[in-house]
Amino acid sequence: MKALVLRRTALLGSLLTLVLVAASLLGPYMYRRDPLAQNLERSLEPPSLQYPMGTDLHGRDLLSRILAGGRVSLTVAFVAFLVSALPGMILGLTAGYLGGAVDLVLSRTTDILMTLPTLLLAIAIVAVLGPGIPNLVLAIGIAGIPRFVRLIRAEVIRLRDLDFVVAARALGATDLQIIRRHIIRNTLASAIVMGSFLIASNILTEATLSFLGIGVAPPTPSWGSMIAEGQKFLYRVPWVSLFPGLFIAAVVLGVNLAGDGLRDAFDPRLRGARHS
């Protein structure tokens, strides 16, 4: 019964994610309305047949802006995940496999960085790097590296002394072969699970930074900056902030549920355990 419910929510989450990602990537081709085209006579209109989600201050169609913004937000979140994953994997492998002083330095640094919430770390890096989408990606990505290092390191330490690795070593496999054939492959599952949760949290971080005005800059739409724009007329036309937020919540919910499902699929022992 419980497994069934879990599987159903995981399926629902994947479906939700898929629909929203597809809408953001393909939407602009099907719903062909320029997200940047202004029509000042139709400023701040409520949702209608012509404007399914209403218009913003400049009379721009909100639905087309949300679709275009989704493209920006999701791309930033995904690329930032790659930026965390590659160095995170390499550093985690190094620390876990080599052990000793290298491990000590790497894992202490990781511990220290992880005392700062990802959001604050990203804010600090963005402040130093300056504005712009590439810097935003870099900041969110770097802020996520410690989480990867910690996870991969723990996995590698667990794997390092397992029988099949010892056997491979006894058969004369070199360290590089062992890492490539045995260790990396066995860390992939948890890296993918971690990745899905990281992407969800990246979407929230990007939205927060853009909301604060230190992320994606106008006129490029992003979900976070759209909510910030709507905040100015919240009491008159609340939907301008409402709709982009709904999309954020829906996609993060979808990715989280899908991530839960992935984790259970890869490792049935963890079924029902919660991420924090």
């Binding site: 202490r108 960085l113 959001l119 604050l120 909510i227 409402l242 919910l253 989280n256």
Partner: protein
């Protein structure tokens, strides 16, 4: 117990030192001249070289790196965080003025999270797989997925604007204690809901796990009533991971304060950081960041101690 305290205290000091170093390095390793980076590009070309030099000197940027690091470390250790480039006021004094707002908000958020999250989690565990359980789970995952600043706007719209139960803008500390508390309610809910969702989910799964443990069966077998088993045996053990999550999330709450303070116009530390970035006020930014880090380390220390109180097994490690 004394050794336990000492070990954790030293660990905290080491982490603070590490964080100071990381914050120092962050501005060193990343490319560019921090003084130039903090100056508006539009005015940078018109700014006389002597002013740039003076600012570099203020940060000791003309010294070798290791010397810069030592100077920075000594100054921070003495509580000297420099002066704001914007107002020329000592950064430590600005922080001292802003800090109470942020502490109040983080505490309020934690209270909301604990008072909402743990009871609903227990209810969900007690009535597992019932519609009530599903409803609690649904709300929890929605709180977890929603951006807190967006929730804040919705809450403002509904409870301050539509219903008029709470003031829309905060008026600061002068307005009196009760009005201050009233202003704290909505921001605390906005910042605490996500953690409440996480706590509810963790409490539920932790409680269910503990109820399946041997010692619970033993307690039942020796004839204890359901209530005694639930509240005395199961709850205390189920709460151990929950306390950890509370500690981890206090850091998150402090970070979230940056956004929530802006939505609710509360003049706290988070707002200070964002303001400092916008104004390119480098010393204020660095000092406020450090204060956040210090706060989080302190909180973690307290959580570790609490952890020792709840679970005596840990004290002797």
């Amino acid at each position: 117990m004394a050794r336990f305290l000492l070990v954790h205290f030293l660990g905290g000091v080491a982490t603070v030192w590490g964080l100071i170093t990381v914050l120092f390095l962050l501005f060193q390793v990343l490319p560019g001249d921090p003084v130039m980076a903090m100056i508006d590009p539009a005015t940078a070309s018109t700014m006389p070289e002597s002013v740039l030099q003076e600012r570099r000197r203020e940060f000791g940027l003309h010294l070798p790196r290791w010397q810069q690091y030592l100077t920075y470390l000594t100054r921070v250790a003495q509580g000297d965080l420099g002066r704001s480039w914007e107002t020329r006021e000592p950064v430590a004094r600005i922080i001292g003025r802003r800090l109470p707002h942020t502490i109040a908000l983080a505490t309020g958020g934690m209270l909301v999270a604990i008072l909402l999250g743990i009871p609903t989690g227990l209810i969900a565990a007690a009535y597992r797989n019932s519609p009530l359980d599903y409803a609690i789970t649904l709300f929890s995952v929605v709180w977890i997925a929603s951006p807190n600043f967006w929730l804040a706007l919705l809450i403002l719209y509904a409870f301050a604007y539509r219903l008029g139960w709470f003031p829309i803008v905060s008026t600061g500390l002068e307005a009196g204690f009760l009005s201050m508390l009233r202003q704290l309610v909505l921001p605390s809910v906005a910042i605490g809901l996500r953690t409440a969702g996480l706590l509810a989910r963790l409490t539920r799964s932790s409680m269910l796990e503990v109820l399946g443990d041997d010692f619970v069966r033993t307690a039942r077998a020796k004839g204890l009533g359901t209530r005694a088993v639930l509240w005395k045996h199961a709850l205390r053990n189920a709460l151990i991971p929950v306390v950890t999550l509370v500690g981890v999330n206090l850091g998150y709450l402090l970070g979230g304060a940056a956004v929530i303070e802006i939505v609710f116009a509360r003049e706290g530390l988070g707002w200070l950081i964002i303001q400092a970035i916008r104004l390119r006020d480098y010393p204020t930014f660095q000092g406020a960041m450090l204060m956040f880090a210090l706060g989080i380390v302190l909180v973690n220390l307290v959580v570790d101690l609490l952890y020792g109180l709840i679970d005596p097994r840990i004290r002797h490690v």
